[in-house]
């Protein structure tokens, strides 16, 4: 333990002492050093660092030898539901969190076969049968200061002693009985743990809060709808665009009172810039109201906030999808980079958004420098860089009285929560994503709590090219695709990059792949026992060698047809996703296994 703490302390000092290194060269974007300190061989948070680059400096496994990669050990989680989590490594221990019931396992990497050191079971409440929504995933733990922090489905945040597995604190921040759940990975920065809630579809009002890492007490809490005082909007709030300027927009951009059940939840990725002391977080879609029932921009949903990390005070906001029509949560990963933009050094934030654009935002002001599509788009026709507004195509708007065909992208968007990686080595962004379109009509009769209604019938299908997913290498400055690997199924796993010139990601039919980051060529692949929707990580083991880890186990929204035993005959199940996934049950079965690879 003391050894590891020292390492961490050194890393922080190095980071803060060399902010100038963050400015980068004339062409290659680089993460700010303070948010992405030199690699210590560990992997202590799902995003690797506060800049969200998911890049490792380890290079023992490289393009030349990766073809020989072999299984080092495996571990069954015992929970056969969607494994979206990232295995962490701190010192000689690997930590992983399962989907509900959210068990935390610690594996001893110093011993052959990595035997279990301990397990911690938070025993989350099941609530009443059927009350918790379908999503039982967990997107990972985070380590800091000798503790593992993570969220539980039933609305708790826990801190567990990383050495002993003993519970240090456990606080309840949400209520599953009102549809409020927690699925995100916390971000831990300095002395605070940042978490937010899920549940927009149940009318849950979105919030983010900072907890004391010491005892779990709430330091600040900000809502994402409602009056400025609830949103922590004050004199420091200076949004770049006129559309985000005004008093109490979280109230006035909704019909009266609708903001109280407005959604805008926080269940995705946070980023932290230590130099600016800013926390960045996205906000979910507006819900549970239909678009026609909530005229207005519906602030502050489907956008991104920059907040003072200590006080929560909002500094700027940008709305990716004002008055969202399609369930396009704005919660995807935020990658912090410094680059030269039209001759000027800029501190930027990269967001591959659900609405299909890669945004380059100035992270000090919220100005959009660029927003170019990485997915076939029919529902929108570009982002107006003057006003900041996304232009919707009116003919593609869902309407009660007609069938709307060929809406691209679909409800899960061009990409969902599954995070991209930025390679410090190639300067490219690697985006795992969907390639889906949909038809929409009002048709099927359904019911909830004894009450019948007419539901929307959504059918998703492959986009142009016929494949349903892809891994795309993206040049941020040129704002264009470099190469793309089409995949049969949506790519619902995260990606990582390494100094070995590699990209790692997994597919829903169970292949774990290593790709040449420059050429886009698959150099190695391994078939795991179930579909992959998790986040790869890589670390230097106690033996000094590099390892790569991934959880296999299909599920999530895209994989619900397998993990949730949905009926393949019902194409509209899982909000129309099943129509595009009918053949998934033929390609994979449920699972929940950790795979760790090494060179022979």
């Amino acid at each position: 333990m003391p050894f590891r703490l020292e390492l961490l302390a050194v890393a922080i000092v190095l980071g803060t002492a060399s902010p100038a290194a963050a400015q980068g060269g004339p062409t290659m974007p680089v993460p700010p050093a303070s948010a992405a300190p030199p690699d210590d061989g560990q992997w202590t948070a799902p995003a690797k660092n506060h800049a969200n680059t998911r890049y490792s400096e380890l290079d023992e496994i490289d393009t030349g030898n990766v073809a020989r990669l072999t299984v080092a050990f495996t571990f069954s989680t015992g929970v056969n539901r969607g494994q979206e989590s990232a295995p962490l490594v701190v010192g000689g221990t690997l930590y992983l969190v399962t989907p509900y019931p959210n068990i935390l396992y610690a594996l001893d990497l110093t011993k052959p076969g990595a035997p279990m050191k301990w397990r911690y079971e938070p025993k989350p409440a099941a609530a009443a049968q059927g009350v918790a929504c379908c999503d039982v995933v967990n997107r990972g733990p985070a380590y800091a200061g000798g503790r593992i922090f993570y969220t539980t489905l039933d609305g708790h945040v826990v801190a567990v002693d990383a050495t002993t597995g003993g519970e240090v604190w456990k606080v309840r921040v949400g209520d599953i009985n009102t549809g409020e759940t927690l699925t995100m990975a916390p971000l831990v920065a300095r002395d605070k743990v940042y978490v937010g809630n899920s549940g927009g579809e149940y009318g849950v009002r979105g919030w983010i809060q900072a907890l004391s890492a010491e005892d779990g007490s709430t330091v600040w809490k900000a809502y994402n709808t409602g009056p400025d005082k609830d949103v922590l909007i004050g004199p420091e709030f200076k949004p770049f665009y006129a559309m985000d300027q005004g008093v109490d927009l979280g109230v006035t951009t909704w019909p009266p009172d609708a903001w109280q059940q407005g959604g805008g939840n926080v269940w995705g990725w946070l980023a932290f810039d230590p130099d600016l002391n800013l926390l960045y977080h996205g906000t979910g879609n507006p819900g549970p109201w239909n678009a026609e029932l909530r005229p207005g921009d519906n602030k502050w949903t489907a956008g991104i906030f920059a907040r003072d990390a200590d006080s929560g005070a909002a500094r700027w906001f940008y709305q990716f999808s004002p008055h969202d029509l399609y369930d396009w949560d704005g919660i995807n990963e935020n990658i912090l980079l410094d680059l030269t933009w039209q001759g000027q050094p800029r501190k930027v934030l990269i967001r591959p958004d659900r609405n299909g654009h890669v945004y380059v935002l100035d992270r000090t002001t919220g100005e959009v420098l660029s927003a170019e599509p990485f997915h076939h788009l029919t529902a929108t026709s570009g982002v107006d860089l003057k006003s900041g507004r996304l232009n919707y195509v009116p003919e593609k708007a869902p309407q009660m009285n007609r069938v709307v065909r060929d809406i691209c992208p679909t409800a899960p968007g061009a990409k969902d929560w599954n995070p991209s990686s930025f390679s410090h080595q190639t300067g490219l962004l690697y985006i795992p994503h969907n390639n889906l379109c949909m038809d929409w009509q009002v048709e099927s009769v359904s019911y909830i709590a004894g009450t019948p209604y007419v539901g929307a019938e959504v059918r998703m299908y492959p986009g142009p090219g016929g494949h349903r997913g892809a891994l795309t290498a993206w040049d941020i400055v040129a704002a264009k695709k470099v190469w793309e690997i089409p995949e049969k199924f949506p790519v619902w796993s995260g990606a990582i990059t390494t100094a070995g010139g590699l990209v790692f990601y997994g597919t829903m039919d169970g292949w774990f792949k290593a790709v040449d980051a420059r050429a886009g060529k698959v150099l190695w692949q391994f078939k795991t026992d179930s579909g992959i929707i998790g986040q790869p990580t890589t670390y230097r083991g106690p033996d000094g060698h590099q390892y790569v880890a991934i959880l296999s186990g299909v599920g999530g929204w895209a994989g619900a047809v397998v993990a949730g035993d949905l009926d393949v005959r019902d194409g509209t199940a899982a909000k129309g996703f099943v129509n595009a996934m009918r053949d998934l049950p033929d390609a994979t079965t449920k699972g929940g296994t950790l795979y760790v690879f090494k060179l022979p």
């Binding site: 009285n401 019911y447 709590a449 209604y453």
Partner: protein, 273 residues
């Protein structure tokens, strides 16, 4: 000696009697444990009463599996073989085999007795009043009245009450009716059975009026036929339930009336299995 052998004989007889009179079969039903007037785990809902009636007809005892009627209800209950029968499904439900409808109800306007009397979605008063609607929030869908109001441009004076509510409270969907009684809203547009039952229990009781038009535009029905559902391949049970529903239609009608379910009974030919 004598008395003890008598006891033995009596005990033997009792065993025989119990065995003979005990219903041999079990009617396995999945139902929401917390949603009056439909059902609750004390079996106080009208669906519980109707199911009991059917079970008696079939010579069976009822065993319940309790599960909140939310997304995934059928998948986790009937289709997962946790039970064989589910009451109270829209007759247009597609995932199961539905019986002929055993009742029909309507979305209704709920108002205070001293409040405005509203009967039509086209009543100009709806542009001024505070209106409550039930929110579904799933699949971008909402209740037909909510859509009908939006179509008319009535959105600024509409307040939403989610059907999910707070599950720790009794009968979460009932909040919208209580909101009328408490003056939070002037009129609520609520699914008939929920409205009728809780309107009668407010002080003073609230007024309930079926929503017109019966079908708004080509696609928004305000009336729904309600059936029971079995698994698609369970034809034997389907015939038994459909037969029992038909045989007991008068008693079923009386139960629905006692629970204040507004609306017309289904067409007679529809009720014939």
């Amino acid at each position: 000696m004598c008395s003890s052998s008598l006891r033995l004989v009596l005990a033997g007889l009792l065993v025989l009697l119990t065995t003979a009179s005990a219903p041999a079969r079990e009617l396995r039903v999945c139902s929401d444990p917390n949603n009056l007037p439909f059902s609750n785990e004390r079996e106080e809902g009208f669906e519980n009463r109707i199911v009991a009636l059917l079970a008696k007809d079939l010579g069976a005892t009822v065993s319940y599996t309790w599960w909140a009627q939310r997304r995934g209800f059928l998948r986790n209950t009937l289709l997962a073989d946790q039970c064989d029968l589910v009451a109270g499904l829209p007759s247009a439900a597609e995932m199961v085999k539905v019986t002929p409808p055993y009742y029909r109800s309507s979305y209704v306007f709920v108002t205070r007795p001293d409040g405005p009397q509203i009967a039509s979605l086209d009543d100009p008063a709806l542009r001024e009043l505070k209106i409550g609607v039930q929110l579904v929030g799933d699949d971008g869908a909402n209740t037909p009245p909510a859509h009908a109001l939006a179509k008319r441009g009535i959105v600024g004076n509409v307040r939403g009450y989610t059907l999910y509510g707070d599950y720790r409270q009794p009968n979460p969907p009932a909040r919208i009716v209580e909101a009328v009684s408490q003056g939070e809203i002037d009129v609520a547009i609520v699914w008939g059975p929920t409205a009728g039952y809780f309107a009668a229990r407010q002080t003073p009781p609230l007024r309930v009026t079926p929503v017109e038009p019966e079908v708004d535009g080509p696609i928004l029905p305000m009336r729904f036929d309600i059936s029971m559902g079995v698994r698609r391949d369970d034809l034997e049970l389907w015939h038994e339930i459909a037969g029992a529903l038909h045989r007991h239609r008068v008693e079923i009608g009386a139960i629905l009336t006692a629970y204040g379910v507004p609306g017309a009974p289904p067409a007679p030919e529809a009720a014939e299995p």
